[in-house]
């Protein structure tokens, strides 16, 4: 793959994602102030000392944003990695084994998908104690249903190809077929799907925190910061829009990169024929 072949929009997307991860990883060194330091008046406008102003308690908004990146990204990443793993493992087993296992898993998956994710999350979180690991687990399990559906479709598409049958006829075991025959051919769509899941996790986590059901104070992610500052909107204070904008920017960047990945695979498929 030539570097020049990557369009500008994809570069911008990757740059944005990298920026967010750098902020998350090096937060304590990058942030000018502490996460909980009150260093000014409430909702001060943007200035030289506080490039993004202060929040509803007088804390530096830029520092809170950088620390918020840590929470948002790691929780979202954890949830999407977990959901992806669960979804792919189950869906590939279902696709390759077929029969009752496939039917059973698919029916359970259909049942879980018949409630919208947000509603399901609300119901479950109402009953559970508020811990970060519970939050990650709930997000992961609910999102894995989408991954299952896609993974199963991709795996089945590949599993009906003759080379998979040829492997079966050789006497290859199920794990060989999954890991050496099917998976290498599924990487492109799966990678794109992982990107989408991560973007969704960021948005979903932020929404839950915004509703007061996600990350609880004093830890803050970007969604929680929106919730903290939303009262200022009526007074014309844009403080709530800054973390909101960060969420949007990150999601846009991930979507741009995923869109580029998907275009690359489809052009490779259609290009050589005729």
């Amino acid at each position: 793959m030539r570097l020049r072949s990557i369009p500008i929009s994809a570069w911008i997307g990757m740059f944005g994602i990298a920026l967010a991860f750098i902020a998350a990883l090096f937060a304590p060194w990058l942030a000018p102030y502490g996460e909980r330091e009150i260093i000014g008046a409430v909702w001060e406008p943007m200035s030289w000392q506080h490039p993004l102003g202060t929040d509803n308690l007088g804390r530096d908004l830029l520092s809170r944003l950088i620390f918020g990146a840590q929470t948002t990204l790691f929780v979202a990443l954890g949830a999407s990695v977990l959901s992806f793993t669960i979804g792919i493992v189950l869906s590939f087993i279902a696709a390759v084994t077929g029969g009752w296992i496939d039917q059973g898993l698919s029916r359970v998956n259909d049942l879980m998908m018949s409630i919208p994710t947000l509603i399901f999350a609300l119901v479950v979180l109402a009953a559970l104690p508020q811990e970060i690991w519970i939050l990650i687990l709930v997000m992961a399990v609910l999102d894995s249903t989408r991954v299952f559906r896609l993974g199963r479709a991709v795996a089945l598409d590949i599993a009906v190809m003759d080379f998979v049958e040829a492997a079966r006829l050789r006497g290859e075991g199920t794990s060989w077929i999954i890991f050496r025959e099917i998976l290498p051919n599924a990487l492109s769509p799966l990678l794109a799907e992982f990107g989408l899941r991560f973007a969704f996790a960021v948005l979903f986590l932020s929404t839950l925190s915004f509703l007061g059901l996600g990350i609880q104070p004093p830890e803050a992610d970007w969604g929680g910061m929106v919730r903290d500052n939303n009262d200022g909107i009526i007074f014309g204070v844009p403080a709530a829009l800054i973390p909101g904008g960060a969420i949007a920017a990150l999601a846009v960047c991930v979507n741009i990169v995923v869109d580029w990945l998907l275009r690359r695979t489809s052009s490779l498929k259609g290009g050589r024929d005729g």
């Binding site: 049942l111 979180l125 009953a127 007061g212």
Partner: protein
């Protein structure tokens, strides 16, 4: 040219059988969902009463609350009681307010449906038209612009869009009301004025999703072999689209619309919280915050029912629009 199938044991046509099967499946799903919402939640670790009381969870207080809320009865009898009530639209009483849940739901559900309905009426035609424009100029400038803008729009969280609109249109320009206060006796125009901003928020988010899907559906139809045949018969672009593409486009587009309406149902929740709009979404979120389980379960069931119903409608329309099923061999 008789239908040799004979229609099975009931003598029904295959298409009717498929529709009935789909209907049955939906009811089965709804039943399964109710089980998950009621019984499944109980199966989770943690005790309602303790979490409900939070810091004040002394053993005596817990026991009292459990007896008071009827949590001591066996799970199955409570489930059947709840389900029976739900079928007669009686969802019990709220733990927080002590009031009838059903009365609240009746009012709030109509508010939410109004909000979603107005958003749908605006976004559906717009999404279809934008999809058609994108296909007309596929891979050229207008299509690329639409692609980038819609990609950005689907990445925006609803609350961000909502607060952005409030900041500009309510606070800075003062032309839209906030919060969105509606009450039962409001006139239609006044009501529409009140919901202008929340509707705009919903529309902006949903339209991006829907437009991308209609574009894909229309593109797939326009590249079908029969469209090429029409062109090679010299039919002309306009007639070809009207006569050949349109009949085959009904099913996929309707499916897209139904699926996005289901998405709209969820978007309503966040928008109601942002705009403090008295609908089902706000009701549910408030209840979750204080762990008012009867309200949470009732709202969950109703949202799920609407979602399942919309998905079923999409499937049934696909079935009806398929010529192979309408005219079997």
């Amino acid at each position: 040219m008789r239908n040799e199938d004979g229609g099975g044991s009931l003598g029904l046509s295959p298409i009717l059988r498929l529709i009935l099967a789909r209907l049955g499946l939906s009811f089965l799903l709804l039943f399964g969902v109710s089980l998950m919402i009621f019984v499944g939640i109980e199966a989770l670790p943690g005790d309602f009463a303790s979490t409900y009381l939070g810091q004040n969870a002394t053993p005596q207080a817990v026991a009292n609350i459990r007896a008071q809320l009827g949590l001591e009865d066996p799970i199955w009898s409570r489930y059947l009681q709840w389900l029976g009530g739900a079928l007669t639209l009686d969802f019990g009483t709220s733990w927080a307010s002590g009031q009838e849940v059903s009365a609240q739901i009746a009012r709030r559900l109509s508010n939410s449906l109004f909000l979603a309905g107005v958003a749908a009426i605006i976004s559906v035609p717009l999404a279809i038209i934008l999809g058609m424009i994108a296909v007309r100029y596929v891979d050229k400038f207008p299509d690329r612009v639409i692609n980038v803008v819609s990609l950005a729009a689907i990445s925006l969280p609803e609350f961000f869009v909502g607060y952005l609109l409030i900041l500009f249109f309510s606070v800075k320009f003062g032309i839209a009301p906030f919060p969105a206060i509606v009450y039962p006796d409001m006139g239609l125009w006044e009501r529409l004025g009140m919901v202008a901003l929340p509707v705009a928020t919903l529309v902006l988010v949903v339209i991006a999703h829907m437009m991308r899907m209609t574009r894909a559906a229309i593109l797939s139809i326009m590249s079908s072999a029969y469209m090429e045949t029409a062109e090679l018969k010299g039919i002309g672009a306009f007639r070809a689209i009207l006569g050949h593409a349109a009949p085959n486009a009904v099913a996929p587009i309707v499916t897209v619309v139904a699926l996005n309406l289901a998405y709209l149902v969820v978007g309503v929740v966040v928008v109601e919280v942002v705009f403090v709009y008295p609908g089902m979404g706000q009701y549910m979120v408030d209840a979750v915050t204080v762990r008012d389980m009867p309200v949470v379960q009732a709202c969950g069931l109703i949202f799920a029912a609407v979602y399942i119903f919309l998905n079923m409608a999409a499937d049934i329309i696909s079935i009806l629009a398929n010529p192979r099923l309408r005219h079997p061999r």
